[in-house]
Amino acid sequence: MIRLPLVLFLSAALFSTGVYGVLARRNAVLVLMSIELMLNAVNINLVAFGQALHDITGQVFALFVITVAAAEVGIGLAIVILIYRNRETINVDEVNLLKW
């Protein structure tokens, strides 16, 4: 009932917004949030195609993605907190010890 391209457009929009957020935001947590956006966009794609092709694999994969996302956020935040402990800042621009 829903036209597939429409869903895909939504997914594309979310994805690109997420890309912008990853590249443009300073706060590490906000970067992580943007990554969540991108993951969600992918999930929408998976589900949409799964339903369009009458294959349950799409949804199963979406579940996996969600699970991995959760794990990733947990670890990511742990790291962010560690950085904060060491540097008193989570400004991505200031974590540049590998600078030339």
Binding site: V22, L23, V31, V92, V95, L98, K99
Partner: protein, 653 residues
């Protein structure tokens, strides 16, 4: 001449004549010092044996053989040139070996007394034997190279013997002067030899063979003349003719036995022998060659005789006398085959009485310890044997009959007259007069009057006086070998291609005797009352000229020796240092500059290129490192940009 058909033992072993003294020289050198008598015995034995052999050889010719004996060993071959070692014995050879061995033996025995106690006694005998051997090699040699070897060894031995007492600088200088002056003559001599060998087409230096080629007309007259003149150069040097006579008087610095052997009887005679042996070259040359020879002989004859007048040193008188007598022989040679025989006969007789005179003077010097006649006098009573033998020698030299000198001089005068050589005739006669004159002077100054020296002179030891007596005896009789009255035996041994008729021309004989007596009278008149001052000094300028040896030595010294030694050497040295070394150094500097240049190139350009590459890499890295900002988000930007680009590329492709 034909080869002797059946050579006897003496001829076959004639090579031993030269070999034995050489062996004794080696033997004396190595074990002489340990032998009782300090090694003199080997030399005396060897030369004595050689003398016996020589007499035997002569005997073979006495028996009427008129030929030659040649034997040789082939040594090696260079290309076409054939080198050999061999002997060639004919009448001339026989005469020469007798003379050489006899005089050498006399000298060997005489030196026992004269050189007694000398610091280098053994070495003296070594060189003496070596010299004898060398002279015999020259005389016996059948090819020019071998002759040259003997010739040069003689020169070296002469140098060694003259400079025997080299502690005194004068002696060593004289030795060098002798050596170098004879060397100057040896250079043309060698070129003469080369021309002769060239004539044979560079195949051999064998004398009879060369003779055949030359006589057979196998060479142009010009070439032969050139060869003759060049060979004569060697004679001028070795036989002390003008202008290379200057070494002989100075060579008197050596021990008197040396003077007797070398500079009276043998070495100086070698030059004359050379002309005699290679006479065919002279006869087949342009006649002007022989004329030149005669001129040289004539000039030397007179000049030397005049110089003998003004000498105070008794040995120098004899030295100049020797030069003069050698000139006699040379002049004789210039008068053709007959003159050759006469000249060689004079050589034969002169050897005996000149050696006698030298050895006698040696006895005198040994007694009074000075050479100067002005410090002698009245020795007649103190040294009777010496006096009488010396007198006999002087009379022989003056040409008083029937002593040896008379016969030989007379023969030369006859040849001169018969050959139409008027000028030479006069010169010969005049020189005979002068010879008598100066010998009388010498005798009177030495043996007569009051003794003007120091010390107590005494007679010489037996070894010396015995030799003097022997030689005096020889002098008396040996001349008879050439006298026409007794068959002119000498002429049967020594002849050129055909026998000469021995002539006795009465008026010439009378003339020569008169000349001799006149000279003696003049000498007696002037010097009988000799006290202190030499009467001849009143001749003033002439005396000065002659006593300064016509300033010839000065000319040589200033004109040749000094420029060469000082200027030329300095010039060559400068050239070597500046130019040659400069070239070498310049090359080195050039190489260094080049090396520097290359080094600069390597450092700056090549290394620069390499370093530049590295620098570029560093520089680029320096620029590129700014990409690494440490900022993860920036990396992410690049990542996504790259993804987009790749996507575009892949979808298009």
């Amino acid at each position: 001449m034909r080869a002797i058909a059946d050579p006897g033992a003496f001829l076959t072993y004639s090579w031993l004549i030269a070999f034995l003294p050489a062996m004794s020289a080696v033997l004396t050198l190595f074990i002489g010092k340990r032998t009782p008598g300090k090694g003199s015995v080997y030399g005396i034995a060897a030369v004595g044996a050689s003398l016996v052999l020589s007499l035997g050889v002569l005997w073979s010719f006495v028996e009427g053989e008129r030929g030659f004996y040649e034997a040789s060993l082939s040594w090696f071959q260079i290309g076409q040139l054939h080198m050999e070692v061999g002997v060639y014995v004919d009448g001339l050879t026989a005469i020469m070996v007798v003379v050489v061995t006899a005089i050498s033996l006399c000298v060997h025995v005489y030196s026992l007394g004269y050189m007694k106690g000398d610091v280098r006694f053994t070495w003296f005998y070594v060189v003496l034997s070596l010299f004898t051997s060398a002279m015999l090699v020259v005389v016996l040699s059948n090819n020019l190279f071998q002759l040259l070897v003997g010739w040069e060894v003689m020169g070296v031995c002469s140098y060694l013997l003259i400079g025997h007492w080299w502690e005194d600088h004068v002696n060593s200088s004289s030795a060098i002067k002798a050596f170098i002056t004879t060397r100057v003559g040896d250079v043309p001599f060698m070129f003469g030899i080369f021309i002769l060998i060239f004539i044979t087409g560079f195949t051999t230096s064998n004398i009879p063979e060369i003779g055949e080629i030359v006589s057979g007309g196998g060479a142009s007259v010009g070439l032969v003349s050139a060869a003759a003149l060049l060979l004569f150069g060697g004679t001028i040097g070795k036989s002390a003719q003008f202008p290379l006579h200057v070494w002989l008087p100075d060579a008197m610095a050596g021990p008197t036995p040396v003077s007797a052997l070398i500079h009276a009887a043998t070495m100086v005679a070698a030059g004359v022998y050379l002309v005699g042996r290679l006479f065919f070259v002279f006869t087949d040359a342009d006649p002007i060659v022989l004329q030149i020879v005669g001129i040289v002989g004539g000039i030397t004859m007179l000049g030397a005789a005049l110089m003998a007048f003004v000498q105070d040193d008794i040995k120098r008188v004899l030295a100049y006398s020797t030069i003069s007598q050698l000139a006699y022989m040379v002049a004789g040679m210039s008068m053709g085959p007959a003159g050759r025989t006469g000249g060689l006969f004079h050589l034969f007789t002169h050897a005996f009485f000149k050696a006698l005179l030298f050895l006698g003077s040696g006895a005198v010097i040994h007694a009074v310890h000075t050479n100067n006649m002005s410090e002698m006098g009245g020795l007649r009573k103190k040294m009777p044997i010496t006096f009488w033998t010396f007198l006999i020698g002087s009379l022989a030299l003056a040409g008083v009959p029937p002593l040896a000198g008379f016969w030989s001089k007379d023969e030369l005068l006859v040849v001169a007259d018969h050959g139409g050589h008027q000028v030479l005739f006069v010169v010969l006669l005049l020189t005979a007069l002068l010879t008598a004159f100066y010998m009388t002077r010498a005798v009177l100054m030495t043996f007569f009057g009051e003794f003007r020296g120091h010390g107590e002179p005494h007679e010489a030891p037996r070894t010396m006086t015995g030799v003097l007596v022997a030689l005096a005896t020889a002098t008396v009789f040996v001349g008879l070998l050439g006298s026409p009255q007794l068959g002119a035996v000498f002429g049967q041994w020594v002849f050129f291609e055909e026998l000469e008729e021995a002539l006795f021309v009465p008026w010439i004989a009378v003339a020569s005797t008169l000349a001799a007596l006149l000279g003696i009278a003049a000498g007696y008149g002037l010097y009988n009352s000799y006290r202190e001052r030499d009467p001849l000094r009143s001749l003033g300028a002439a005396y000065t000229l002659v006593s300064n040896k016509y300033y010839l030595d000065d000319i040589y010294w200033k004109g040749i020796v000094r420029p060469v030694r000082d200027d030329l050497s300095a010039g060559v040295y400068w050239f070597n240092q500046r130019i040659l070394d400069g070239i070498v150094n310049g090359t080195a500097t050039l190489t260094k500059t080049l090396a520097n240049g290359v080094s600069w190139f390597d450092q700056t350009v090549i290394d620069g290129a390499v370093n530049g590459l590295a620098n570029i890499a560093g520089f680029t890295g320096g620029l590129l490192r700014y990409i690494q900002s440490g900022n993860v988000q920036r990396y992410a930007v690049f990542l996504f940009t790259g993804v987009v680009v790749l996507a575009i590329i892949f979808t298009r492709i």
